[in-house]
């Protein structure tokens, strides 16, 4: 990011110009992040802006020696999205008690490109979409996802299984004819 110091100074002074520059810089990446969790674009934007508001309010806490500014912002926005997911009460579903990690080791999703992945995410319901994004995009393991979303490991596994079941017909249609 160019002029990062100046942008931070402007944000600290609550100047709209600097805030706008920062916003426009990180917007594409963060909007994609939010879209992974929320199918509704309006909700995704709302979450992104809520997260950015936190960024502007807490930017004095940013310490450049601890990491990159973008990573710091990314973490805040992602946590905002996860908070929103927690508040939106994920529907309880039947659990899968099989702890065999091999169950998810081979998945057709691995063969998808990022662009295609976003298209197929719309097939999933919001809770499954969130679990899928956390698992396949954000790299969280099942236990961490359970902790983030306040649900059991079995529930997370069920959502991942649901992801595969939902996407299988689509993948077969487009990729495994």
């Amino acid at each position: 990011m160019q002029d990062q110091d100046q942008i931070i100074k402007d944000c600290l002074a609550n100047h709209r110009q600097g805030q706008e520059k920062l916003y426009r810089t990180v917007y594409p990446a963060l909007m994609l992040l939010c879209k992974r969790f929320f199918a509704d674009e309006h909700t995704a934007l709302e979450v992104l802006n809520d997260g950015m508001l936190k960024v502007y309010r807490q930017i004095e806490k940013y310490d450049s020696s601890k990491g990159d500014l973008f990573n710091w912002i990314y973490t805040i926005v992602r946590n905002t999205a996860l908070d929103k997911l927690k508040r939106s009460a994920l529907p309880l579903t039947s659990e899968i008690n099989d702890d065999d990690p091999g169950l998810f080791s081979v998945t057709p999703l691995n063969s998808l490109e990022e662009k295609e992945f976003y298209v197929f995410l719309d097939v999933l319901n919001p809770a499954t979409r969130a679990v899928c994004s956390l698992y396949y995009f954000e790299g969280f393991n099942i236990r961490e996802i359970g902790e983030i979303l306040n649900c059991s490991v079995g529930t997370v596994k069920w959502h991942l299984s649901e992801t595969r079941n939902k996407l299988r017909p689509v993948l077969k249609k487009y990729y495994f004819k």
């Binding site: 609550n14 706008e20 917007y27 594409p28 994609l32 309006h42 950015m52 973008f70």
Partner: protein, 452 residues
């Protein structure tokens, strides 16, 4: 994460995203709501910051209140002169002095010169003697030319001066005639015993004139609005109250930041005027001008966002609520009645800031057979990106009806923009109506040479 950083660098997205302009607009609204921007911060010694504009507003309010207080508490010029020179309120020493002067005048058989030392100049004395002569022979046309009668108190001295003239013939019965005069004059006359009947009549007229001018505070100020030959210049502060959208408090009181700032109505402009006979030219400068155009949308945006099981359609309209800037106006008015003036003029305005309202109607169209659901919301915020839809310069033609009093004026103004304001849609030629109030702070007079 590296992919995201790469995305930032390349500014590419694998899927279509909402325009960043719209996203930033929403973000800015959120910021304005939760974290308002402080404009022109002023740092004090203690480190706390404030708004320079706020201090400026406070200073202006203080200045105005000081002026108003001064105007209210200050005795009128005429009252002051009345107090100082009212013949009926002369001190004993003054009366004695006048008596002495009268006697002195009698002895010398000349016009009493010592009176000039009591404040009346010798030129005036000579004028007085001329008038005296006329008073003794004919009816004096009492011309209340304001420029020359701005000496209410001096009239009182005139009467004394007239009465103290030495070259008078004593006619029996003078005392009887003198009784009809006011006390002070009578005392002097009785002492001198040299006033003729004709002089008494003239004296009476002069005293009446003197009384009129004295009791009417200041002749010049009292008759300021009467058509005269002289040029008069005045100036002061003025305030306007727009009648457009007066029932809509949110719009009417909105400040440049979109938040209510009702105190802005107290921010004044400056006016100057030049008057000659029944004609009046006015110049107005208002650094705090604002306009409330008709609320007509100038921009429409329609969008759709496909979801998992619904299609969300948005209909966004942008409307200008209020504009802020500086105005310079010139006008001409003609006296149609004693205190009513009718006229018109033009006003050039440069708009620098504005407040717009964004209204959004959401239509959720479910994929199943359920009917659409409409919801609406609106946001008010400072206009920054949509000035391309408006002209920042505006020229108005106005018509004014003014009621003028001594120290203040009030009236109504209607106007219409002759230059296009909205460039495409929206209020192209906004109509405005406002009440105004002017407070006179200074007054100058340039006399025209007396034709007599």
């Amino acid at each position: 994460m590296k992919e995201q950083e790469k995305l930032i660098k390349e500014n590419e997205s694998p899927v279509p995203l909402p325009a960043s302009d719209e996203a930033w607009s929403a973000m800015r609204r959120l910021l304005d709501e939760h974290q308002p921007e402080k404009s022109i911060p002023v740092y004090t010694e203690s480190g706390s910051s404030g708004s320079a504009k706020k201090w400026l507003a406070v200073a202006i309010l203080f200045f105005i209140s000081s002026l108003v207080t001064y105007q209210l508490l200050r005795p009128a010029d005429g009252k002051r002169s009345q107090t100082n020179h009212d013949p009926s309120k002369k001190s004993g020493s003054e009366i004695k002095s006048e008596k002495h002067n009268a006697d002195f005048g009698m002895i010398n058989g000349k016009k009493d010169q010592s009176l000039s030392s009591s404040g009346v100049d010798t030129n005036e004395q000579s004028n007085l003697s001329e008038k005296e002569d006329r008073l003794g022979k004919q009816k004096v046309p009492v011309k209340t030319k304001t420029g020359s009668t701005n000496k209410g108190g001096k009239h009182g001295r005139k009467s004394i001066g007239e009465n103290t003239s030495g070259d008078k013939t004593v006619i029996p019965g003078d005392e009887t005639m003198a009784k009809v005069d006011d006390n002070s004059t009578t005392k002097v006359e009785n002492n001198t015993g040299r006033v003729t009947a004709m002089d008494n009549i003239a004296q009476k007229k002069t005293n009446e004139k003197s009384k009129d001018s004295a009791t009417a505070a200041n002749a010049s100020e009292q008759k300021i609005d009467e058509p005269v030959d002289d040029w008069r210049f005045a100036g002061g502060l003025f305030w306007t109250l727009p009648l457009n959208a007066i029932s809509d408090y949110e719009t009417w009181s909105a400040g440049p930041n979109g938040k209510p700032q009702p105190y802005r109505i107290l921010l004044p402009g400056i006016w100057l005027e030049a008057k000659h006979e029944r004609h009046l030219m006015t110049v107005e400068l208002n650094p705090f001008a604002y306009g409330i155009p008709k609320q007509k949308a100038f921009k429409y945006v329609e969008g759709s966002q496909p979801g998992a099981d619904t299609l969300l359609k948005t209909y966004t309209s942008h409307t200008m609520l209020k504009s802020f800037g500086a105005s310079l106006g010139m006008g001409y008015q003609y006296n149609i009645n004693s205190k009513l003036w009718l006229g018109g003029g033009f006003q050039a305005i440069v708009w620098t800031r504005a407040v717009e309202q964004e209204g959004i109607v959401y239509e959720k169209i479910p994929s199943n057979s359920n009917p659409s659901v409409f919801t609406a919301e609106s946001f008010t915020y400072p206009m920054k990106e949509n000035w391309e839809y408006f002209s920042k310069f505006q020229l108005n033609l106005n018509a004014d009806l003014t009621y003028r009093e001594k120290n203040w004026q009030t009236g109504i103004r209607t106007g219409i923009s002759v230059s296009p304001f909205a460039q495409k849609d929206g209020p192209a030629h906004p109509f405005s109506a406002s009440l105004f109030f002017r407070w006179r702070l200074f007054y100058l007079e340039k006399k025209v040479a007396d034709k007599e």
